[in-house]
Amino acid sequence: MSGLSLIGLKKVFEKGTPNAKLALDQVNLEVASGDFITVLGSNGAGKSTLFNAILGKFRLDRGKIILDGEDITRLKDYKRAYNIGCLYQNPLRGTAPNMTIEENLALAYTRKARKSFFAVNKKDSEYFRSLLRELDLGLEDRMKTQMGLLSGGQRQAASLLMATIAEPKLLLLDEHTAALDPATAEKVLDLTKKIIAKRQLTCLMITHNMQSALALGNRTIVMDSGRIVLDVSGAEREQLTVPQLLQRFRENAGKELSADRMLLG
């Protein structure tokens, strides 16, 4: 079997203190290979915590994570990264500013590249150039430019390339277009769709835009208080409208989906 299985994930932060917070509460999720799942939920619902659990940024209290048949629950974060790509909201997080575009890509590619003495070499560079050309941002002619000189959108596009360059089994996108201006955000989202389709990636994407959550991918889950309260896919999802989604959430979670940062349209 391939894909991702989350079995009974549980995490309490600051356990045993008055600040104890139940961040993940019995999260079960079966992700099939090739699934593109959008993740919705208000602030503090546990979306990013779920991603961090998958990435191994902390130890779970209980539960198991199985990626492509391999139990990775106890694997260190950098070892999991061999098969998991991740992109965050902040474009600065995914790239090294004082290194060139080429060096950044070479570093990200290291895990799957053939052995070579120099990190930047001709053969890999040709490959990087072809990947950059597909972004259509003119970066293929600026491979010796320092990453820090690029705009936020360009850096996020480069980060997207870096997260997917080693053909991960799973791609996690944590509101990766939220910090960009609308036009750039749309461009980066288009690139994301293109790369996911081309590489047939299994993907989880956190978004706060309900409309695009329903439009993108093949499945949508909604989280609340560390639980998955709604999980729709297939024909049911195709017919689902945003008001219906809100209605379903109210029934399942027993409260309104707080719309402080949510975009309805």
Partner: protein
């Protein structure tokens, strides 16, 4: 002394301290982490080198000095990454602990001269200077040129320059290999390194080891050149290294790692020339530390001053437009 021999003396000192400046460059600029182990590992390199040189192995002594520096770096690196102790404190802890170790290496005294006791033909005990890299090389040069009055500093300068050139070249190549690039990236964005499935802790530890090995190597070279080791020689060494790195940056900027390596070496040379000039105008030798600290403070303040000036100019232009 004429100007030329003063210059040669300054350059020879600059070359001896150049590996130290490279070590500081790796810690502060590449790994982006202040490391105070440096004060201790410099002396550790000196002490170990002294003991092994006196035992009759001047070349092995340099390598041993380097190795003990790497070991000190390993301890600091483990404290930083595995015990999660603050980087500055980790360095201070290693440095403090090293003082005891260094004292023990010197056999419970605060300094040690590179000489051993021998019995001369008359049956009396005399002190014989140990063979060192510099002594051997000078003898070689004297034989080669037939000039018995050869400037000692010149021979020091030549052999040290060769060594430093090799070290710098190896470093420049190393930082373009996969391992070297991972160290650079760890200093630039550690999270990105982890996301690329590279063990950032290992990169960091390796970088700190490399840095301190270079610093200790500098200490070992100095020990063989001045023919003694001194327990208190490392105080403020970090500031000297930082001053060299910053001076170098004024000339070469911060563009690439290769330029950074060259600039650290050149910075070390210029720093010694500045010191030599200061001695020439009768600055007492104890003023060195203050001078170094002032150079570092001024150099670190420059970017702020630059910004203030441009801001003020912009404001003034706005006012005149209004």
């Amino acid at each position: 002394m004429n100007i030329l021999s003063l210059l040669i003396s300054a350059l020879s000192q600059g070359m001896i301290y150049a590996p130290m400046a490279l070590g500081v460059y790796i810690a502060f600029r590449i790994l982006n982490t202040p490391d105070l182990t440096i004060d201790g590992s410099f002396v550790a390199g000196m002490c170990v080198c002294a003991v092994v040189t006196i035992a009759g192995h001047p070349y092995l002594a340099l390598l041993c000095g380097m190795a003990v520096g790497a070991l000190a770096g390993l301890l600091t690196g483990l404290m930083q990454t595995q015990l999660r102790i603050n980087p500055i404190l980790s360095g201070i802890l290693t440095m403090t602990g090293l003082y005891t170790i260094n004292f023990m290496v010197l056999g419970g005294q605060s300094n040690l001269y590179l000489q051993r006791t021998a019995v001369n033909s008359a049956g009396a005990e005399t002190q014989v200077a140990s063979d060192t890299l510099y002594k051997t090389f000078r003898a070689f040069l004297v034989e080669l040129t037939g000039n018995k009055r050869l400037d000692n500093n010149l021979s020091v300068l030549i052999i040290t320059a060769v060594i430093v050139a090799v070290v710098a070249a190896v470093l420049a190549v190393f930082f373009h290999t996969r391992t070297g690039m991972a160290i650079r990236a760890t200093g630039d964005n550690e999270e990105m390194v982890r996301s690329s499935s590279i063990n950032a802790d290992r990169s960091r530890i390796f970088g700190i080891m490399l840095s301190n090995a270079l610093v200790a190597f500098s200490g070992a070279l100095l020990c063989e050149q001045q023919r003694y080791a001194d327990l208190n020689f490392g105080n403020g060494m970090l500031v000297v290294g930082l001053a060299s790195v910053i001076i170098g940056q004024v000339f070469f900027g911060k563009r690439s790692v290769t330029l950074g390596i060259i600039s650290a070496v050149v910075g070390s040379l210029i720093y010694r020339i500045i010191l030599q000039a200061a001695y020439k105008i009768d600055m007492p030798s104890y003023a060195v530390k203050l001078l170094s600290a002032v150079i570092v403070v001024i150099a670190l303040t420059l970017p702020l001053l630059k910004r203030l000036v441009t801001e003020r100019r912009a404001n003034r232009e706005e006012e005149t437009e209004a």
